[in-house]
Amino acid sequence: MSAPPLIQLQDVVKTLGANRVLDGVNLSIHRGEITAIIGKSGSGKSVLLKHIIGLLEPDEGSILFEGRRRAAMSPPEKKALRQKFSYVFQETALFDFLTVVENVALPLAERKHAVPAEIQRRVRDKLSQLDLYDVDHKYPAQLSGGMKKRVALARALVTEPDIVLFDEPTTGLDPIRKNAVHSMISDYQRRFGFTGVVVSHEIPDIFFIAQRVAMIDGGRIRFEGTPEDIQQAPDSEVRNFIEGLESPRDPMTGIASHSIGQQHLRREMSRLQRHRKPFSIVLMAMDHPENIDRIAGHMASQKLLKRFADHVIQNSYLTDTCFRYAINKIMVLLPDTDEGQAHSFCRKISRTLRQSALFDALDKSRHVGYTLSAGVVQARPDSGLEELIAAAEKEQAVFYEGRKE
């Protein structure tokens, strides 16, 4: 028998005032996964999140942690459970009477056996990872909305929690910062293996980092599954909701969105099968962005990706399709191109990359090395799209090495 899910909501009902906000929610959250909760405004996403952490108690139903009901736990057990959690509030909920440093230090300073020097070190680490410089002694009221968001993230992550609940962590941030926050969540999940629950409107970006997606509608979970599942959900309501939010262009890089790219891929595949029109795909990736993140901050890797995307666009023809394939991957679809021509396309990009100072994108002058890799595959009429992409991933090899001295 497999282990029970880390968190399980069973028939949770909550009425606030005259409003039945949650009407029998059933949801499982598994250890080490990022679960995205999507849904219309006012559909009870935040209320659901507050039930998970225990700020609200359900009227009916129960919430289980590793198979045990929270309501049946003893006070010390509840306390131990609470210490595993962190919560990023939608409106940041920063302490307005404390400075940025004091805000971020508070969850550590209020714990028993806190060592001031250690706290200072961890606070400073988190602030620099989130690109927060020269704001240490400012008060939240003196910061911009985006900065407050990042301070709130720093405060939630400084305790290195097991479970982090994010209530719209990227609302109000610009596209680069949005991507930086997403890449940070994803990077931290890989490094520390935390379990994340993210309430988000960022479709499709959130699908790049989430392993599971749940859509809440009318107080119930309308859909639960992987990001791939939800994009092909049979329920037209679910699909309409997703397509309504999705913009045809990726806001950060300006290249096509994931779903547009998928459409073009399917079209080219059928052209190949019917009319024998060849095409190739190039899957380009920034390798180990976390190395850049750790040295130069999460903004750096995203700025770099944006610059890289600019180069790809400049070198491609009008008929080519560049689209965001994953958080750090760009796919280029080259119609009427064989593998040899696709390779020369890659060489052309690497040439222009060498001529330009890609790293001007980074303001903080630090030594950072990075590599870009590409996988080139020509489509065959007898293979499916999945096989084609899998082949491209397998083919990936470093085609450009950059270094900032």
Binding site: G54, R82, A93, P107, E110, K112, T159
Partner: protein, 266 residues
């Protein structure tokens, strides 16, 4: 049509009100009891208590001195014109000193601190509530009662008696200013009568009042702020109503408990 229901409705309404009132009273008491006990939970929050003492105590000193001086001066004036009819102006010292130490000192100190610090407490905690800062404390496993309320209770218990003492002394000199310096009562009589008539019991009684007022004031003001979100009004409106009711309820309760305490202490 007359029915039993119409007869029962007003009774039920009274019952609901009484039950609601009793429930609130119970919540208020538990709020104070928890906040008070958490003062002693190690590690004791000396730094936060110190900050609150500065805010409640130190920053009130000027206002307290000003009020005390004028209260003493008015007592001197009124006392003089009342006593001069009986030719016993020498008793002015005891009249001023006793009314200050027993009544005016503790009560007016409490009222001034409510106006200055109590309203600020209710507003500050109310804003923390509506901006989810109190929820944020809970998510960090920080007990909001211990973090926000306990230091304020501790600080009030320290500050109220001290401020009352300052009030008494400044008021006494205020009475001297109007009674002796302006109206010509012999200063030696004034001070010796003041000294001889005030007994240790009076001073202790005054301090007991100050301590009780500290508890009443802080509990009401923090409670009003802390439960801002349970009001029918939301946001800034809710905070403004919380602040108003904090000031009104604690002032009324201070005067009410003053009467009760006086009957026991006399």
């Amino acid at each position: 049509m007359f029915s039993l229901v119409t007869l029962k409705t007003p009774v039920a309404a009274i019952g609901r009100e009484v039950l609601g009132f009793t429930r609130n009273l119970g919540r208020l008491f538990l709020f104070f009891a928890r906040g008070f006990l958490l003062i002693f939970q190690p590690p004791i929050q000396f730094d936060k208590i110190r900050q609150q003492i500065f805010f409640i105590g130190m920053k009130s000193v000027f206002v307290i001195c000003l009020t005390a001086a004028f209260t003493g001066m008015v007592l001197g004036l009124q006392g003089y014109y009342a006593l001069v009819k009986y030719g016993s102006t020498a008793a002015l010292g005891s009249a001023v000193a006793l009314s200050l130490v027993r009544e005016m000192g503790p009560v007016l100190t409490a009222v001034m601190v409510i106006a200055r610090a109590g309203s600020a407490m209710a507003a500050e905690i109310g804003i923390m509530r509506i901006s989810e800062q109190i929820d944020a404390l809970k998510t960090m496993d920080v007990n909001p009662l211990r973090y926000l309320i306990s230091p304020r209770i501790a600080a009030a218990l320290v500050c109220f008696p001290l401020l009352t003492a300052i009030f008494d002394v400044v008021g006494l000199f205020g009475g001297y200013l109007s009674g002796s310096a302006l109206l010509g009562v012999n200063p030696a009589f004034y001070f010796s009568r003041a000294q001889s008539s005030v007994e240790t019991g009076d001073i202790i009684g005054g301090f007991i009042k100050a301590l009780v007022f500290a508890v009443v004031t802080v509990t009401i003001c923090c409670y009003q702020g802390y439960y801002t979100h349970t009001r029918a009004e939301f946001g800034a409106k809710g905070v403004s109503i919380s602040t108003t009711s904090a000031v009104v309820i604690s002032c009324v309760l201070v005067l009410l408990t003053d009467y009760v305490l006086t009957t026991f202490l006399l």
